[in-house]
């Protein structure tokens, strides 16, 4: 009963928070567009549907066509699907690895903590994009799943570090001692005593990793190492640059994909600030 009341309180503040509303609204819009957008178009992303080449947006081609006469709207909605897939998979993997290492290091301490700490510091210093570049460059065939896994496996360090610090401060609390004294396993203590007490933190970590994966994927795609068998928002931008969209003023080719990424990631940041206010009563009055 008490838990329900508490949940309701969060929901109450969540539904009233303007930043959260805006963020969720934008994300929902793009999720729906990714889910149902392909039903609204008769074209395939790589089909040459317009024989005259590039045309600006019209009722027939909502976002115009590319240099080769491909429909930009179709490419963008399919690219959105790729973006969300990479964000969920890549962000999810990064959050999970960060949680695993963070919990372990923070709860166990000692030599394990030291080892994980050195590993975290190393991966933190290495520019992850450089590592992604060199691995992706040697892969002849690159899939979206592969890209997500690579991004997820290189993006976890700051999450691990933050979760470790939180775990470290929680593990000496009385309720954790109680659980330990009653003989519960470390695994159970971490997931039923410690993790629920930093749920807000974990949710926000996932949101930031979700956005980070989107930006990382866009960078990788733009430099020519995107998926070889799919379309993505970063790839659309890369093709537009390669085929002179700037010089010929084909703005409809490069504005929509970048705008979509900016709005999605911006909405995630806005959600994060909103959630912070919901979870942290000190900030609520603002």
């Amino acid at each position: 009963m008490k838990a329900l009341k508490q949940k309701n309180e969060f929901l109450y503040f969540a539904l009233r928070n303007r930043k959260l509303q805006i963020g969720l609204g934008v994300i929902l819009f793009f999720v729906l567009l990714a889910a149902f957008g392909p039903l609204l178009t008769d074209y395939e992303p790589f089909d040459y549907v317009n024989p005259t080449g590039p045309v600006p947006p019209s009722s027939k081609f909502w976002l115009g066509t590319t240099f080769f006469g491909q429909d930009v709207f179709t490419q963008v909605v399919m690219g959105l699907r790729a973006t969300f897939l990479i964000a969920i998979l890549g962000g999810g993997i990064a959050t999970l690895v960060g949680m695993l290492l963070g919990f372990l290091a923070g709860y166990r301490g000692g030599i394990l903590d030291e080892i994980i700490n050195v590993l975290t510091n190393i991966v933190l210093v290495i520019p992850t994009m450089a590592v992604l570049l060199i691995i992706a460059a040697y892969l002849q065939v690159r899939s979206l799943a592969m890209e997500s896994i690579l991004i997820g496996l290189t993006a976890w360090p700051w999450a691990a570090r933050a979760i470790r610090a939180q775990t470290f401060s929680l593990r000496t609390r009385d309720f954790v001692d109680m659980a330990r004294m009653s003989g519960e396993s470390a695994f159970k203590i971490i997931f039923s005593e410690i993790a629920p007490n930093m749920m807000s933190y974990l949710v926000m970590t996932f949101i930031l990793q979700f956005g980070g994966a989107i930006l990382n994927a866009a960078t990788l795609d733009f430099i020519g190492l995107g998926p070889t068998n799919a379309i993505s928002l970063g790839l659309i931008m890369q093709y537009s640059m390669m085929w002179g969209a700037l010089q010929f003023g084909m703005w409809w080719w490069f504005v929509p994909p970048g705008l979509a990424i900016t709005l999605i990631v911006g909405a995630l940041y806005s959600m994060n600030v909103g959630l912070d206010e919901v979870f942290n009563p000190k900030l609520r009055e603002m």
């Binding site: 210093v125 992850t128 970048g258």
Partner: protein, 330 residues
């Protein structure tokens, strides 16, 4: 202080060691035959191809045992030999990269320093006024959410194509040859401005927001309330808050370096600016693996050096690290 630098140095050396190992490992254990691929791309006649094949096999040392290959790789690396570029044959990779480095430094150094300084000061001011906060914060969030290449593309489109006031490709006009004349320097600056500005803007948003949040957090801290209760002037409290907020922003800069460098890579691609990013795109499109590997190593070394510089600055700014109290950033 010695302990602080000792720890950092160990981490950097380990990182460098790991990076070189990755650099050696990946080409050897990835599926496919990079040498054959590279030769297919170069598409020379068959006798030349077989000569080159032999050359590369020798260079990779594929006929030696693995541990010896690995040692040879280190030996070559320490001599500054990173192989020959296939795309710019027969230039050595080290030389190709050395020619690109000045452009990267010219873009990154001012963009990083100026955006950090401007962003922090602006964020601190924004935290002070409700009106500024309501306008600056949303803009800041949108700027940090913008992918680097997209802002670059938009700036190139608006200032380069629509207004036609800035060139959008290259480091200087093709009609000019590099000389020390005012005309040439002006031309270089004109080409430099848009890529610099686009890098500057994205980072500026992030620092402004970070500083704003930090200041608000510091003003809620006990020492601020205590100072207030003592009747200290507002400006003094603000200054203390700023000094304390700058430290996490400095370690934040170290964490952001990788992202900023990645941003510079794609910005250079947009503006065809002849730094490492531009080389990398060409290397990827031509499957020039030695050049890709060289870019990788140079990026790692650059980021490690920058990290080290930030560590030194941190010691200068934060007295705790000097007294051996390692603080939270160590």
């Amino acid at each position: 202080m010695r302990k602080y630098f000792g720890r950092k140095l160990v981490i950097y050396l380990l990182t460098f060691f790991l990076a070189v190992t990755i650099d050696w490992l990946i080409p050897r254990f990835m599926p496919g035959d990079p040498v054959a691929n590279m030769l297919a791309r170069v598409s020379v006649n068959s006798t030349a191809a077989s000569v080159m094949q032999e050359y590369y096999t020798h260079l990779f040392g594929l006929d030696l045992p693995l541990w010896q290959q690995y040692l040879n790789f280190w030996a070559n690396l320490l001599r500054g030999d990173l192989g020959i570029s296939a795309y710019l044959f027969p230039k050595p990779v080290t030389q190709v990269l050395m020619n690109a480095i000045p452009y990267d430094v010219a873009l990154l150094l001012p963009a990083i320093l100026l955006s950090w300084l401007a962003g922090n000061n602006f964020g601190a001011v924004a935290a002070r006024s409700k009106w500024l906060d309501n306008t600056v914060s949303p803009i800041g969030y949108i700027l940090t959410a913008t992918p680097y290449m997209w802002l670059g593309i938009l700036l190139a489109w608006f200032f380069g194509i629509i207004l036609d006031v800035f060139p959008i490709a290259g480091a200087y006009s093709f009609s000019l040859s590099p000389t020390l004349s005012w005309k040439f320097i002006g031309d270089v600056l004109l080409h430099w401005f848009l890529p610099f500005f686009s890098l500057f803007m994205v980072q500026f948003g992030g620092w402004a927001i970070g500083m704003r949040n930090m200041i608000i957090y510091e003003l809620e801290a006990d020492y601020s309330h205590y100072l207030e209760a003592l009747g200290a002037p507002r400006s003094l409290i603000r200054r203390y808050a700023f000094n304390n907020a700058v430290l996490p922003q400095l370690s934040g800069l170290a964490l952001q370096l990788g992202v900023i460098v990645a941003g510079a890579l794609v910005t250079e691609v947009v503006f065809s600016y002849p730094g490492i990013g531009y080389l990398l795109l060409a290397a990827i499109q031509n499957q020039d693996y030695f050049l890709i590997q060289g870019c990788f190593l140079f990026i790692i070394i650059g980021v490690l050096l920058a990290n080290f510089v930030i560590d030194i600055v941190y010691v200068l700014v934060d007295p705790r690290t000097r007294r051996g109290m390692t603080g939270e950033a160590a």
